[in-house]
Symmetry: C2
Subunit: 176 residues, 2 copies
């Protein structure tokens, strides 16, 4: 509490424990000691992979129910509880696109919306990308699109790409 | 359903209606017609503002309860239901930092975590930044830090800055 910004947990109150998230509404104390409530979404974390092959980036088009829209995103997914993010990222890349990577380089660690979720998204760049075989999860519907890198940068510029992890991955790539 | 990715809502089921978010677990249909559940966090949306004055960017340090950490973020906040994002952004900038902007330019529209939240974050760049007077909300504890732009880019590069909207704003700025 050295600089007076710390908030203390009094009691964690679970309201919902679900499949991809859980919800708490905690009793907490503000830095000045006054009581407050904190609505927190618990999430096991996610991974995303920027995979470029022959100057084309692998993007995944899928319907995102929350927005009622199709979005273009880098291959990504949710970590299993306790799963190594590097292994999770290789798994998701392979499942969604069939691509295999010799190794993954961490591009960014992303906190998507720190006001209410504890999700951490690890974004990697795939090094040594090779073709393999796509093997989607049951109930997973998506289409892989190979977009020339310069065109993908344009989709960032003109606002077509809106997904946070995909923006960060492509902007970091563009920055070199 | 022209390309077979659409998911249809059968029934919206509210589990929680809170102060900053609500939670639903909907009955829906996958593209192949089979039933599924969709856990969705409803959020009224947010705004963030990149404000640079004398080659220094205004960053806000605050404790983020979800992570149990202090984070450095651009000034930001939640929209009121139905609020104009530009007005909301000017309001948050002024409240948190005291800075006033002649006008705001849209830098990016960000979907922070499309797997489960419908939140949209509008990120602006402040043009014509002038000093004013900070006037924090009750219960809001934060410290404004003016960071030289090149140093802020370094904090992005070395992983110190992790907040999604702040990463996107600074990476876009660096890209010119």
């Amino acid at each position: 509490m050295k600089d007076g910004l710390f908030e203390e947990t009094v009691k964690k109150n679970y309201l919902y424990r679900g499949k991809i998230l859980s919800l708490r509404c905690d009793d907490a104390l503000l830095p000045d000691g006054s009581p407050c409530k904190r609505e927190i979404v618990e999430h096991a974390g996610g991974v995303g992979v920027l995979a470029v092959k022959d100057h084309k980036v692998a993007l995944v088009r899928q319907f995102r129910y929350a927005y009622g829209e199709e979005l273009l995103e880098i291959p990504a997914g949710k970590l299993e509880e306790g799963e190594d993010p590097v292994l999770g990222a290789k798994r998701e890349l392979s499942e969604e696109t069939g691509l295999e990577a010799e190794r993954l380089k961490l591009l960014a660690t992303l906190y998507p919306s720190p006001g209410y979720t504890d999700e951490i998204i690890y974004i990697y760049e795939a090094i040594g990308v090779k073709e393999g075989k796509q093997h989607l999860d049951k109930g997973e519907f998506l289409r892989v699109e190979y977009v020339p890198l310069e065109e993908a940068f344009l989709l960032v510029e003109n606002g077509t790409i809106r997904d946070g992890k995909t923006l960060v991955a492509l902007l970091k790539k563009k920055n070199g």
